[in-house]
């Protein structure tokens, strides 16, 4: 378990290099999510997005990026909401060890 000092007040990792799959499980648990392969698929995509665009996606960009990379069925708000209820971009980024999206409204 990574100590709480490694997270900011919103529960996002302070140092992105602290992230690994075990840390992801730990963060997901605090969000009440048990990670399944369908979650991991999105988490990997989020990390790829961050590498490609040097930023965390807001919801709109995440939906479109999923559609482009995983097909139209998964590029839908409702699908992402089913995996990361409430705010998929924000919670997905948190579990993926990425910074909070700037424009998370």
């Amino acid at each position: 378990m990574l100590p709480t000092s490694h997270f900011d007040t919103d529960g996002f990792l302070r140092d992105l290099s602290d992230w690994n799959p075990q840390v992801a499980e730990q963060i997901a648990m605090t969000e009440g999510i048990k990670l399944e392969p369908s979650h991991w698929e999105i988490l990997e995509l989020l990390r790829a997005y961050y590498l490609e665009f040097d930023s965390s996606p807001a919801m709109r960009a995440l939906v479109k990026y999923c559609a482009l990379n995983l097909g139209p069925d998964k590029g839908k708000s409702i699908y992402l909401l089913s995996l990361f209820p409430g705010s998929p971009a924000k919670i997905g980024c948190k579990v993926a060890g990425l910074p909070k999206p700037d424009n998370c409204l």
Binding site: E52, F53, D54, S55, A58, R60, A61, K64, N103
Partner: protein, 115 residues
């Protein structure tokens, strides 16, 4: 809304500020276009690598604009030519416009926001 971008990517925090505004406005489904004017064209140089400065990569962030459905990106052709920037390799697809067309473009929008 037309966002006019006139400064280099890392010489000030203006480039980052403009991106913040553009992406926030996109979240509200506003009709947004960007115009890179004068030194602003320097943000379109490919292969920027800003991590050693501790700054976010403006070029790569610009590459995400289509994912926010921002597809109207205009460039001051004269400035790009002056800096010898090959726009076919820039991080985001752009439309080159002449000096004469810039004024016309600016009058087509209800609001102009300059950075």
């Amino acid at each position: 809304m037309l966002v006019v971008i006139r400064h280099s990517p890392y010489g000030s925090s203006l480039a980052k500020a403009s991106l913040d505004v553009v992406l926030a406005a996109a979240a509200f489904e506003q009709n947004i276009a960007l115009l890179f004017l004068g030194d602003g064209v320097l943000q379109l140089i490919p292969h920027q690598e800003s991590s050693a400065l501790g700054k976010k990569n403006i070029g790569r962030q610009l590459a995400s604009l289509p994912l926010y459905d921002i597809d109207s990106v205009y460039v001051d052709a004269e400035a790009a030519a002056r800096y010898n920037i090959d726009l076919t390799t820039s991080p985001v697809d752009t439309q080159s416009i002449s000096t004469g067309e810039i004024h016309q473009l600016m009058t087509e929008f209800d609001h102009i926001l300059g950075f």
